[in-house]
């Protein structure tokens, strides 16, 4: 892991340490998704990229996306698989006692779909002690991806918000202009500090983006507005934490 890059920018793009695990996850999502639209082919990449040809929009799209979200989170155990794919990096960033967000979000961004997240940062609201994992299931480039401000530019963008009249407009324009547009191959993932400002452009390419996003944090690190029990679950515990927690359980039993 390029520690210096992360410290300077607040994000890092990393190749999967275990691409087989990520491929397994992508293929499982593909198997679920293709049943929803009666696709008989075997090419996951083509299916995802050309998904807009099914012309699903509004609630039709959202209902399917939500069904997949439930499946990905509960049955496919995506938080565990993404962790396995980037285990060394995540252990370096977060530590050995690690929590994972209960739900793994799925975004399907079709060409020309203006329903994109507004320019924002995840923290505050979320804890600044989390890391966000953004995992595209297809190659991304140009407007098919997202843009992100580094630490220094995030500070500048946030200053613009102080203007009560047009602050958000200036903030948005600045982020669109100064944000780094990500170019990533399937297998690479973006891990970023949740205080970074980021946004999604209107997808003007001829392919649909499918991506997952999920958060990881340390067991005892401070929480944001989203509490531990409601938003996170245990992913890994160090041997030391396991022994200590067993001891604490005994104490709590008295």
């Amino acid at each position: 892991m390029d520690r210096e890059f992360f410290l300077k920018n607040g994000y890092i793009i990393a190749p999967a340490e275990r691409i087989d695990v990520l491929e397994q996850l992508r293929d499982q999502i593909f198997e679920k998704a293709k049943k929803m639209v009666d696709y008989n082919g075997e090419d996951a990449t083509q299916f995802f990229n050309q998904f807009h040809h099914y012309e699903l929009t509004g609630t039709q799209l959202n209902d399917r996306r939500f069904e997949l979200y439930n499946d990905i989170s509960k049955n496919l155990n995506a938080g565990e698989l993404i962790y396995q794919a980037y285990e060394d990096l995540l252990t370096n960033l977060v530590g050995p006692d690690i929590l994972v967000q209960k739900g793994t979000n799925l975004v399907i961004q079709q060409p020309g779909d203006s329903n994109t997240s507004p320019v924002h940062r995840d923290s505050p609201l979320n804890s600044p002690f989390e890391v966000v994992g953004w995992v595209p299931l297809v190659d991304i480039y140009a407007t098919k991806g997202m843009y992100v401000l580094n630490l220094a530019k995030t500070d500048k963008a946030l200053e613009l918000l102080s203007d009560l009249d047009s602050g958000y407009e200036q903030f948005q324009k600045y982020t669109e202009k100064e944000g780094t547009r990500l170019e990533m191959k399937f297998g690479e993932a973006l891990f970023f500090w949740p205080g970074l400002v980021h946004g999604i452009p209107l997808n003007q390419e001829e392919e649909t983006r499918w991506s997952l996003n999920i958060r990881y944090k340390g067991l005892f690190s401070p929480v944001g507005s989203k509490g531990l029990g409601e938003f996170f679950q245990i992913l890994r515990l160090s041997p030391l934490a396991q022994v200590a927690l067993e001891h604490e359980k005994e104490e709590c039993s008295k």
Binding site: L219, G227, L228, G229, F232, L245, E248, C252, K254
Partner: protein, 158 residues
């Protein structure tokens, strides 16, 4: 169809009104393919001891499968995670569910699995939140009590 008691968080009604807590607990019951047959809430003074719900459980005619609490925080009012009471409820043969966290504890094994997240949740809240935010949200008569205490203390100082 399973039947549940609903136990609202009396200490948090100011921020999550009863009506909202009813909805959340009812929704949790629905997810469990069950229904709420009775609801209750602790007195402010029994928040740490769970006295009210304990008494309801002791009524042997209680023909329920479990208790749905609004939030895990209801097990933190004593200043630490009340593992003992949760275990007691399970030992009595009832399931325990939390609506806000969408967590179910069906048996001792599940409680053991969940202990780390329950413990850490309580630990982090106690460490990081202002002590006053940890108290139950007081109603009018509690405020009077507080005023009386303060006035008494002032009197003593004077």
């Amino acid at each position: 169809m399973k039947s549940y008691y609903s136990c609202l968080d009396a200490g948090f009604v100011k921020y999550a009104p009863q009506s909202l807590q009813h909805l959340a607990n009812g929704e949790k019951a629905k997810k469990l393919s069950g229904k709420i047959i009775f609801y209750t809430a602790e007195d402010f003074k029994t928040l740490p001891s769970h006295g009210v719900i304990k008494a309801k459980m002791d009524e042997k005619q209680a023909n329920i499968d479990g208790i749905i609490f609004f939030t895990l925080r209801q097990f933190f009012y004593g200043g630490r995670f009340d593992y003992k009471f949760l275990k007691y409820v399970l030992d009595e043969g009832y399931e325990v569910h939390f609506a806000r966290e969408d967590i179910s504890v069906e048996n001792q094994q599940r409680l053991d699995e969940l202990f780390p997240i329950f413990y850490a949740t309580q630990f982090v809240i106690k460490r990081d939140e202002a002590e006053s935010s940890w108290d139950h949200i007081t109603g009018p008569y509690e405020r009077i009590d507080q005023e009386q205490i303060i006035s008494k203390e002032l009197h003593n100082v004077a």
